[in-house]
Structures are given as structure tokens and as C-alpha cells.
């Protein structure tokens, strides 16, 4: 039987729920073995995305993707990260295609784009 990424993510989340930190490693390892056995390794990325969503939703936070145009001093990054709460799952990445500035994506559905690339795109694609 084929399982959807959502099914995998829900199962993993339920398996990890309430378990002590010491056992979580083994559960994750078993999960990867099951994934390999079912030949669904290619779904790993999708499962992870859904899993992140489930975890933050349970905590009542947001999945935040912070994209920066280039490497910035740790102090600057830290000051930005402080803006988010403990309930949020914050990821940072370097995205040179932004040219300059920063882009924040919330739960993969909403974004605050303050990059130069966006401004240029808006300028050149105005009707």
C-alpha cells in the first residue's frame, strides 16, 4: 500500500508524541528504515515539511522561513531571531536571488518580502 506524505507525517508525529528525548532518536531511525523499506525516500522532503507544520500547529506557533540575500554577522541574525517566540520553528537560509534584503515566509502561505528582487520585479511587471 502506498502512503501519502501526510499519512507519514501524522504517524511520525503521533509516534514521537509524549516520548522521552532519549527514545526519540530511535523512533526517527526506525521511521527512516520504514521509509526505505517502502521505497518512499523521495517523499522525505514533503514529509518533513508537513511534519514541521504539524509540530508548530500543535504548539500554537508558526513555521518561519527567514531568507537573507547574503551572509550576515551572527549578531544581526540573532537579533532577528529574537523577534520570534519559542513556539515558532524558525529556519534561516541564504538566497542570493533576493539580491539584497530579507524575505520572511510564514507557514508557507504568507510572506513579508522586503528584498530588492521583489521591488525590481514589481517595477518591471507593472501594468
Amino acid at each position: 500500500m502506498k502512503y501519502s506524505p501526510k499519512n507519514y507525517a501524522l504517524a511520525l508525529n503521533q509516534a514521537l508524541e509524549g516520548k522521552p528525548e532519549t527514545k526519540k532518536g530511535a523512533i526517527l531511525k526506525n521511521f527512516l528504515v520504514v521509509l526505505k523499506k517502502n521505497g518512499d525516500q523521495r517523499l522525505a522532503h514533503k514529509i518533513l515539511e508537513i511534519f514541521k507544520g504539524l509540530v508548530v500547529r500543535q504548539k500554537g506557533g508558526h513555521h518561519v522561513l527567514l531568507e537573507l540575500a547574503r551572509e550576515t554577522p551572527d549578531t544581526s541574525t540573532q537579533s532577528i531571531l529574537k523577534k520570534f517566540g519559542e513556539k515558532d520553528w524558525v529556519e534561516t537560509s541564504i538566497n542570493p536571488s533576493l539580491v539584497a534584503g530579507i524575505r520572511v515566509t510564514l507557514d508557507g502561505e504568507q510572506e513579508l518580502d522586503n528584498s530588492l528582487a521583489k521591488k525590481l520585479h514589481k517595477l518591471f511587471n507593472r501594468n
Binding site: T105, E109, E111, N114, K119
Partner: protein
């Protein structure tokens, strides 16, 4: 000039304001063969246009499958430029095409972009109106029954399978049997039907060869038919998305003129390829396949399109939209899935048969299997007078023709009926791109059924027809042709004049 351009650009850049704020966004998670799957955008509407932001600019995409965690979209541009990770934004617009009278005479794609190298379509874009491709058909209250004929210029059709304005008449047959030729004749004939309001024609080419479309446009241009025609083209080289949208775009163009109170003729050439393109998209969107791998809503696809053909009531402006959908059959199999669907939706069909075509009977209309369910109420009195008897004579001829193959001796009465049938069959033969005006059809059919051609050899029937109509045009225009044209009737006086003209002409023929 260069200074002006730079100044204008400078002002635009200086005046550009962009305030960042939270916006809804989607992300392309999958893309293949004109389809993109988008995550996010939970508030997107069905049939909404979304913009995919690519490196080379925005590409529109049509939200089609609204699923629990993603949206299946049909890309309406260069799908090879779409990559995973591209941002997608809502536009709040549903798919529509800009229409104004300026579109007449133009060749456009289903999104309304010109394809004829004649420059921009709308010199006054503010006068153009946006017409939705998907629209609900006029309700029963806003309709009335068909009462004005659409003269196709094809004798067999106008006499025996009459079409009314607002009707949907299917043209069905194998490949190469003259389906497009009949539809094209109907378009060409609209310039020589002065007794009725001028029709606006829309020719929708779906999945046709580019060479064929070019030839059709050239024919229309040479005949002066492009002056009242719009061509919506989605050739075989166009993506399946455009082929799927083309009939809806053609219908939207037609609806614009219908709602302005005009009569419109829309030819969908052809709906078989339209169904195939929709099947392709549906399978790519992973919709469950049904019979012949078509999706479950294939019937609704065609019914909602053809239901938009209507004759509007006076209160609604009295316009009409007549549809001539074309279906291509395989080895004459009318019981296949798509043909039966469209036969049941339309108000009749013109069935073209390859065996008749190869026998030299062109147009190869099988009169027995062809039918028009509502057109007879729109037929003119003059045509009704001659066509009623024509059907009867031909039916008798066909019955006897089968009989003759077994019997060698025939009584004079049967022989006469067979001869008459042969003459009438000859009369109904007609070359393509030579539509005949309605009043000329009436006089030649009158001559045929009243025995004026019984003593003319079969080989000379065509010549008789040509010369007699020329003779009438020169000698009896007012008394016969103009009288029929004006009154739409073949009254006693006109009939008497016609008889005199026929007798006179036969003396010199």
C-alpha cells in the same frame, strides 16, 4: 524622442512606491507538461488566474483543482520556464477575454492575443469589455424559440436540415468528408443573405493543422468573409491548455455580440480534439479517468459550452448565438463516447458519410441519419414549400433504388420516380466554397421537384442550374429572385413568373 522616453521612465521610477506587508503566497511544488501544483494560497478561487513569478516575468496559470493541501493549475504560458520553488500569487481575476467590435476581422488566441501580425486589436481599449470564458448559460426565462433561419448556402442542408438562429447543429463525420467545408460555406454565405440581419461569425480552430487554419483564413479573406468573422485559433502546436480554452473563448466573443442584440454563428472545429486536450489536462491533473480515459465531467464540459447557444428574448435584446460544433468519427462510428455525448446535447446533426463522399455525392450528407430538431420552425415559407416535397421524393427514390438492384423490368411510374430522384440528387450536389443564396436554392429546387429537369440529361443538370440562375438574375431578377428574397415566400404570382421563366429558358437551353 530618446529624451522623452528616459524622462518618462525616470518619472515612473521616482514615483514607484512599494510598501512591504504580509501577502498570501503559494509555492510551485511540482511542474510537468503544462501543469503546476502549488502549495499555499488556501483562499484561491476555482478558475482564478494566478501569477507564477519566474525570472523572465509573470506567467499566468489557471487554478483548476482545489485540493486539501495544494492547487492543481493549468499553465497558460511558456511552461518550460516554471520551476519548483517559484512564488505564485493570486490576481483575484477569473479567466476572461477582452472583446469589442474591433476584434472582428482578427485572428486571436484563446487569451485574446493577436496572431495575425496586424498590430494591437483595440485602438480604444477603454471601450473593450472583459467577457468571462466560463459563464452560466442564459436562463429559460431569457430565451425564446428559434424563428429566423441561418442559411448555410448548402442546398441539402437549407432544404432538408434547416438551422435556426440560436440552434446547435452538430456536423459529424469521418475525416476528410467535408465537415469544415459545410461550416465554412455557412460563414461565407452570411454575406449574401440580405433578408435577415447580418450575422457575426466566430470560427474556433481547436487542434487543427496550422496550414489548414491558414488556408481557411485565406479563403475567408478572399471571399470578404473576414469582415464579419473572428478567428480563435489554438492549433495542434498550441499547448493543451489553450486548446481546452479555445471553444470557451470563442463562445465568450460570440456572447458579447449576442448580448448587444446581434446574431452570431460560432463554429467549433472540432470538439473531438477539444475533448482530447481536456482528457490530457485531466490526466495530468490526476483526476480519475473514466470511459476511454476521459474524466467524469467530459459531458458537462460540452453541455455547458453548447448550452450557451441561445435565442434571447426581446427583453434581452433579441440576439442569438448559433453553434455549429464539429465532431470527427472513426470509421463512421457514431456510437463512440464523445459523438453520442454531443449528439444528445445538440438540436440535431448533419451526418456526413465517407461512402457517399467517394461516390461523388458532395456534400456527402446522409439525409436519412441527419436531422434538425428545431430548425423547421425557422425555415422560410418559400423553402418549406419546395423542401417538403423534396424530402418525400428523395425518400421514395432511395426506397426504389434499393429495389432496382433486384428487378430488371420497371413500370413507367417507378422509372419516372427513379429518374426524378437522380435529377434531385444531382441538384443537391454542390462544390465547396460555392454557397448558393437562399432564393436561388428555392428556384432550382422548385424546377427539380416540378419536373422541369426531367428531360435534361444528368450530366447537364449542373450546367442547367448555373445558366438558369444567371438567366433569372439578368432577366427576371425583380419578378422572381427579388420577390422571394423580399417576402421569403413563393406566392402564386412569383410561382407563375417562375414557371414562365423556366419555360422560356428551356427553349434556349
Amino acid at each position: 524622442m530618446a529624451y522623452d522616453i528616459i524622462e518618462k521612465l525616470k518619472k515612473e521610477i521616482e514615483g514607484f512606491k512599494d510598501e512591504a506587508g504580509f501577502e498570501n503566497v503559494g509555492i510551485v511544488t511540482e511542474t510537468s507538461d503544462g501543469i503546476a501544483r502549488v502549495s499555499g494560497l488556501a483562499g484561491a478561487l476555482s478558475q482564478e488566474i494566478l501569477n507564477i513569478e519566474t525570472e523572465t516575468g509573470d506567467i499566468p496559470t489557471l487554478a483548476s483543482n482545489l485540493e486539501e493541501s495544494s492547487i492543481g493549475t493549468i499553465i497558460l504560458g511558456d511552461f518550460e520556464k516554471v520551476k519548483i520553488g517559484h512564488r505564485v500569487r493570486q490576481t483575484g481575476k477569473v479567466l476572461s477575454i477582452k472583446v469589442s467590435p474591433e476584434i472582428i476581422g482578427r485572428v486571436v488566441d484563446p487569451l485574446g492575443r493577436p496572431l495575425d501580425n496586424k498590430g494591437v486589436i483595440f485602438k480604444n481599449p477603454e471601450k473593450a469589455e472583459e467577457y468571462r470564458l466560463e459563464k452560466i448559460a442564459p436562463s429559460v426565462i431569457n430565451r425564446e424559440s428559434v424563428k429566423i433561419p441561418v442559411h448555410t448556402g448548402v442546398k441539402a442542408v437549407d432544404a432538408m436540415i434547416p438551422i435556426g438562429r440560436g440552434q446547435r447543429e452538430l456536423i459529424i463525420g469521418d475525416r476528410g468528408t467535408g465537415k469544415t467545408a459545410i461550416a465554412l460555406d455557412a460563414i461565407l454565405n452570411q454575406k449574401q443573405d440580405p433578408g435577415r440581419p447580418q450575422m457575426i461569425c466566430v470560427y474556433v480552430a481547436v487542434g487543427q493543422k496550422n496550414s489548414k487554419i491558414a488556408k481557411i483564413i485565406k479563403t475567408m479573406e478572399d471571399a470578404g468573409a473576414l469582415k464579419y468573422t473572428v478567428v480563435v485559433s489554438a492549433p495542434a502546436s498550441a499547448p493543451a491548455a489553450l486548446q481546452y480554452l479555445a471553444p470557451f473563448a470563442g463562445c465568450a466573443v460570440g456572447e458579447y455580440f449576442m448580448e448587444k442584440g446581434q446574431d452570431v454563428l460560432v463554429v467549433y472545429d472540432d470538439l473531438t480534439k477539444h475533448a482530447q486536450s481536456y482528457r490530457e489536462l485531466s490526466l495530468l491533473l490526476r483526476r480519475p479517468p473514466g470511459r476511454e480515459a476521459y474524466p467524469g465531467d467530459i459531458f458537462y464540459l460540452h453541455s455547458r459550452l453548447l448550452e450557451r447557444s441561445a435565442k434571447l428574448s426581446k427583453e434581452q435584446g433579441g440576439g442569438s448565438l448559433t453553434a455549429l460544433p464539429i465532431i470527427e468519427t472513426q470509421l463512421g462510428d457514431v456510437s463512440a463516447y464523445i459523438p453520442t455525448n454531443v449528439i444528445s446535447i445538440t438540436d440535431g446533426q448533419i451526418y456526413l458519410e465517407s461512402s457517399l463522399f467517394y461516390q461523388g455525392l458532395r456534400p456527402a450528407v446522409n439525409v436519412g441519419l441527419s436531422v434538425s430538431r428545431v430548425g423547421s420552425s425557422a425555415q422560410t415559407k418559400a423553402m418549406k414549400k419546395v423542401a417538403g416535397r423534396l424530402r418525400l421524393e428523395l425518400a421514395q427514390f432511395r426506397e426504389l433504388q434499393a429495389f432496382v438492384q433486384f428487378a430488371s423490368d420497371l413500370d413507367p411510374n417507378t422509372k419516372k420516380k427513379i429518374d426524378r430522384g437522380e435529377v434531385l440528387t444531382e441538384i443537391l450536389k454542390q462544390s465547396d466554397r460555392e454557397p448558393i443564396s437562399f432564393e436561388k436554392q428555392v428556384v432550382i429546387l422548385y424546377a427539380g421537384i416540378n419536373g422541369f429537369l426531367d428531360d435534361i440529361p444528368k450530366t447537364r443538370v449542373k450546367e442547367f442550374e448555373q445558366k438558369f440562375t444567371d438567366y433569372l438574375e439578368k432577366m427576371h431578377r425583380e419578378k422572381v429572385l427579388a420577390a422571394i428574397e423580399k417576402t421569403n415566400e413563393l406566392n402564386e404570382e412569383t410561382e407563375k413568373n417562375l414557371k414562365v421563366a423556366l419555360e422560356e429558358f428551356k427553349k434556349i437551353f
